[in-house]
Each structure stands twice: as structure tokens, then as C-alpha cells.
């Protein structure tokens, strides 16, 4: 069982320049969710559980965030990530309709900021497991480091001057293999172990921080599917990562992220070197060798087929995957755009190419507290004075046209990359509508239906049914991942068992399949002072 939490970049534009504050706009987005969808408030804060079992909230940094319901197949994970994007697009339309013409809300599947703020935001994965936590971390780490050759979003290193394309732009922000923090000193994995299974013992949660928001269905499918298979192997007592333990995982990840041919070799703990494709192949072979074992999920053969096929194609990277994986689509497109501008990637590596953008970012910060700086920005005086200040450059010569041309190309690339994954009108969606991409998977299912329907298996189905039935009684009920509380009646519906109800894979989430204990909970709604816990059985 697994789930994905995606933070989305968010911006508000207005035609008169005054703008609606992001905080207020995000508040309106949540209010729109309450109007459009059945929902229940979270137990602790301002989160909303929606009628498809997912959770919508505003995370730190003013990002809307959507956590999928608990999923049990990789197709389902893709379906609910995409349904979440559809939900956000619908809500943005609702807010815009309310505000009238002149204001535009924009939501982006992106992972790093290019304004000079040097920030990143997350797309975290969670995998429920019963393995020893230390062993799992050790065994899965080389997989997480090397999988970026197919899970990378593509983009630019926003922590250095100059323009450098990376397979995975979050990698420079990951400074530890494991960390107990997510806003600084990030790890590839987080150390927290919150299985959200109440008092049921034995479950743990692998919380992966290194993933990125992706557009390609195939990339999301492989990200979740391959990682879940590695977790299953380790749960069964196997050690698929032993032969490919890395001498320095963070350094290896940086090396792999910078090599768009996917041929960079990284040092192994036991000596010798291996490429990311070599490392991935070892994990894949371990999965294939155990396909007929009971501990492997029923969808394992299809994941292995896709996994093997993409690794084969990656041997010809980047061209061989330039219509299916996010980073390769971007690289081919950006290279073609630069060719039209007559600019070479190598020229953009010079620090001066981003000098103005970085200084403008500093002034943007100052402008928040000073109208004088605001005026300077508005009058467009910055460019000339900044160029003057950089006139000592020996590389290009003082204030040369060449500098201006390269800086213009750099800013274009940053803007193109940011809008590549814009929801509703981004470049990826335009290419997809033109039918020129090969990223879709036929078994993902009905994404539009998933906006209002939960997964067929597991407690998300029960949660969603409760949300639909109890919606409109705000204040009376509070929802969590592992419980629903009847505040007035003092009852708690226990959803600790994530797989509840068992054996219901082919049944629709209708009232007649709800367990008796849930009926009791729903029937008891409104009774005062009845303090008891209802466990689903």
C-alpha cells in the first residue's frame, strides 16, 4: 500500500497589478473545495478529506498540497495523482469564476524555483511495510539514488549560477541519505515512522523525499511500482541492494543527475563502479527472479515488463526516451529551442548568464518592504545598472550584446521549464493533446471518475463513504487517515487497519457492502455523550 503527497507551485496574476494575496486565494481554493465536493475537516488542522478518500490542504510556503488516498496498485497511484490535478484545476476555475475577469490562478507541477529564491518543494511517497526499518533503508537506498534516470522531472540546478540541466533538479537540495527534517538538510528519505495505523503493531512507513512531481504517467507508474517491488523483496527477507551499496549515496545521486546519457559510473561500497542502469538492473533481476513467490503483488509482472523496457531504452538516452519521460521530453525540447536561438548549452553554464536574475530576486525580496525598490523594479531600471555592475567580466567583455543574448535565453528557459507542467495550459499538456507523446498507460483507468470515487480496496473506500454521508455536518465530525470522530456523540470510527475491509477488491463502494460496525457508527451519529470506540471488523 502506498500514497503520494504532491505540493504544487501556486501563483495569482491580476491584470491591474494589485493582485490577490496567495494566502487569501488559497483560502478561497479550500472554500471552493467545500462547495464542490463532499468533505470532512481534519482532526487537527485545516485539512480537508475529500469524497475520493484524498486529503487537500495548504502546506508551508503557501503551496496547495494533495495527498492521494491509499493505493494498492501503481495504476491506481497514477490515477489518483492525475485526479488530484483535475480537482485543483476545477477548484481554480471556481475561484476565478467568483473573482471575475482580471484574475488568474495558476498551478504548476514543478519542483524548484528559478526566481533566485533557490527553493524546492516536495512530492513525497509513503510505502507501508513490515520490514526492519534499518534494513529496508539500507537496501532501498541505491534504488532511490539510481531510479532518477526514469523518475527525474528534469529542470535546472537552482542552487548555482549559470544554467545547468539536471535529470532531477531536486537532487542538489538533498544533502543527506536520511534526515529527520524536510525543509532543510533534506535526506533522500525521512526518518519519521508514522504508519497511521493506530495501535496496530508491526506496520512501518518508508517516507521518500527525493521524488518529484511528474507529468508522465509512465514515470509515475514506474516510480511507485518499482519502489514498491523493492520494498516487497526486502519485506520478504531478501537483500537486493547488497551488491550495489554505494560508497557515497548523495554524491552518486548528484553525478547521475548531471548525466543525461545515463552512463555515469558511481563508486560501490565493495569496490568497483556501476552505472544507474546497472544498479537498476540488479534490482529488476531480483524482482523478476521472485515473480512467482506469494509475497509479490499480482501486478509485479507488468511492472517488471515496463521496468525492463525502459531500462533497455535508457541505454540510448536521452533521444530514446524523449517522448515518454519528463526529463528527456524537456531536454529535447529545450535543446531545440536553444538551437533556434543559436545558443549552446555550454555557453549558458557561465555564471554571468543568471547574474541579473539572482540580483533581481534579491531586490524582489527588498521590494516587499520598500516602495522605493518596488519602483525600481517597475521602472525596469535594473537591467542596465546590473549589466554595468557586471562589466568587469573578462569572459564576455563589458555589457556585451552576447551577455544580453545569453541572459535572455536563460530567462526563457527558466520560464519555459516552470510552465512546462502548468495544470490546464502547460507545455506538456499541449504536447499531449497534440498526440506526440508516448507516456500514457491504458490501464490507469477513469481519471475523471476518480475525482469523486475512492479506490476499490482498503480503508480509503470506507473513509470516502463516511465523507459522502456525513458531509454538511461540519463541526460534528472530524476525519483522519486512521479514524473518524463524531465530536458531539463522542464516538470514534477506528480505521487503523489500512486494508479493511479485506477481500473486497471487486466490490463497489456502496452502502450494502459496508460493515455492520460502520452502520452502527453512522446510526449513532448525533447521540450525545456516548464515548466509545467502534473498531471495524
Amino acid at each position: 500500500m502506498f500514497g503520494i503527497e504532491s505540493e504544487y507551485a501556486f501563483a495569482v496574476f491580476s491584470s491591474d497589478g494589485t493582485g490577490l494575496g496567495k494566502s487569501r486565494a488559497l483560502g478561497m481554493l479550500l472554500e471552493a473545495a467545500k462547495r464542490r465536493f463532499a468533505s470532512l475537516p481534519d482532526i487537527h488542522d485545516g485539512r480537508l478529506f475529500l469524497e475520493n478518500g484524498s486529503c487537500l490542504y495548504v502546506d508551508c510556503g503557501m503551496h496547495p498540497e494533495l495527498a492521494t488516498p491509499e493505493c494498492t496498485t501503481p495504476w491506481e497511484a497514477v490515477r489518483y495523482v492525475k485526479a488530484g490535478e483535475l480537482i485543483l484545476d476545477l477548484l481554480a476555475q471556481d475561484v476565478q469564476a467568483k473573482l471575475g475577469s482580471g484574475t488568474n490562478l495558476a498551478i504548476f507541477r514543478s519542483n524548484v524555483d528559478y526566481s533566485g529564491a533557490r527553493t524546492t518543494w516536495g512530492c513525497h511517497e509513503s510505502y507501508l511495510h513490515t520490514a526492519d526499518r534499518g534494513v529496508l533503508f539500507e537496501q532501498v537506498l541505491p534504488h532511490l539514488v539510481s531510479r532518477i534516470i526514469y523518475t527525474g522531472a528534469g529542470g535546472f540546478d537552482n542552487r548555482r549560477r549559470g544554467v545547468r540541466f539536471l535529470i532531477s533538479p531536486r537532487v542538489p537540495h538533498l544533502v543527506n541519505a536520511e534526515s529527520d527534517m524536510s525543509t532543510e538538510s533534506r535526506g533522500i528519505c525521512h526518518t519519521k515512522d508514522e504508519p497511521l495505523c493506530g495501535d496496530i503493531s508491526g506496520y512501518h512507513r518508508l517516507h521518500v523525499l527525493s521524488g518529484e512531481s511528474l507529468c508522465s504517467q509512465r514515470a509515475i507508474f514506474l516510480k511507485v511500482g518499482a519502489t514498491a517491488l523493492v520494498v516487497a523483496l526486502v519485506e520478504a527477507g531478501l537483500r537486493p541492494g547488497d551488491a550495489v551499496r554505494l560508497r557515497n549515496p548523495v554524491a552518486a545521486m548528484r553525478r547521475i543527475a548531471a548525466d543525461t546519457k545515463c552512463a555515469a559510473a558511481v563508486s560501490l561500497d565493495a569496490g568497483g563502479y556501476a552505472t544507474a542502469i546497472d544498479i537498476q538492473s540488479r534490482y529488476l533481476e531480483a524482482a523478476e527472479a521472485n515473480l512467482d513467490r506469494d509475497f509479490m503483488p499480482p501486478w509485479a509482472p507488468e511492472v517488471c515488463r515496463e521496468w525492463r523496457a525502459v531500462l533497455e531504452r535508457l541505454r540510448g538516452a536521452p533521444d530514446s526516451v524523449c517522448t515518454e519521460l519528463d526529463w528527456a521530453i524537456k531536454l529535447s525540447l529545450y535543446s531545440a529551442h536553444l538551437a533556434r536561438r543559436g545558443v549552446r548549452w555550454k555557453d549558458l553554464e557561465h555564471p554571468l548568464c543568471t547574474a541579473i536574475a539572482n540580483r533581481r530576486a534579491r531586490l524582489t525580496e527588498l521590494a516587499e518592504s520598500s516602495w522605493v525598490f518596488q519602483l525600481v523594479l517597475e521602472l525596469g531600471q535594473l537591467e542596465d545598472c546590473e549589466l554595468e555592475s557586471e562589466s568587469q567580466s573578462k569572459h564576455f567583455g563589458p555589457c556585451s550584446e552576447e551577455v544580453r543574448r545569453l541572459q535572455a535565453a536563460a530567462w526563457e528557459l527558466f520560464a519555459i521549464d516552470f510552465t512546462f507542467g502548468q495544470i490546464g495550459e502547460g507545455i506538456f499538456e499541449s504536447m499531449d493533446h497534440a498526440g506526440v507523446l508516448a507516456h500514457e498507460l491504458p490501464d490507469v483507468g477513469d481519471i475523471e471518475a476518480a475525482v469523486s470515487q475512492p479506490p476499490a480496496v482498503g480503508r480509503a473506500r470506507v473513509r470516502a463513504e463516511c465523507v459522502k454521508r456525513l458531509h454538511g455536518r461540519f463541526g460534528d465530525f472530524r476525519c483522519g487517515w486512521d479514524q473518524i470522530i463524531n465530536v458531539a456523540g463522542g464516538q470514534v470510527l477506528d480505521l487503523s487497519d489500512p486494508y479493511f475491509p479485506a477481500g473486497s477488491a471487486d466490490r463497489s463502494p456502496t452502502a450494502d457492502v459496508l460493515p455492520e460496525s460502520l452502520r452502527l457508527f453512522l446510526a449513532g451519529c448525533g447521540r450525545a455523550n456516548v464515548r466509545r470506540r467502534v473498531r471495524l471488523r
Binding site: 488568474n104 495558476a106 518543494w121 531545440a336 530576486a361 524582489t364 516552470f418 497534440a434
Partner: protein, 64 residues
């Protein structure tokens, strides 16, 4: 499609428009995905106006 609020849209990108023929390839010999992608890039660059200014306006705080 939501209404767009443009930010000083650019009418001249200084780029030759990408024209796609019936086969899906561009007149310049670009294959289908690049031709479609570059047309989308041009639309977006026109829509967002000054790229540097746009990048500042979509500035994001760190998350997670």
C-alpha cells in the same frame, strides 16, 4: 479553459514560427514531438510576457 490574464504579452518572440505539415513534421525537418513542443513553447512565451519578470511573479517559497 480558464481565462488568461496576460502580463504584457509578447507579440514578437524573434523566432520563426514552427509550421507543421500534414505528416506531423515541421518544414524545418523537426519531428512531431519537437514541432508540437516548440509551438507550445512559443504560445507560452507569448502568453507570459517578459520571462524574467514572470519568473519573479511566480516566485515560490520553500515547502515540505
Amino acid at each position: 479553459m480558464r481565462e488568461r490574464v496576460n502580463e504584457r504579452p509578447r507579440t514578437d518572440l524573434g523566432l520563426k514560427p514552427v509550421v507543421v505539415d500534414r505528416s506531423g513534421f515541421s518544414r524545418d525537418g523537426l519531428d512531431g514531438h519537437l514541432a508540437a513542443g516548440l509551438r507550445a513553447v512559443d504560445r507560452n512565451l507569448s502568453r507570459i510576457g517578459d520571462p524574467d519578470r514572470y519568473t519573479q511573479r511566480v516566485r515560490q517559497e520553500g515547502g515540505e
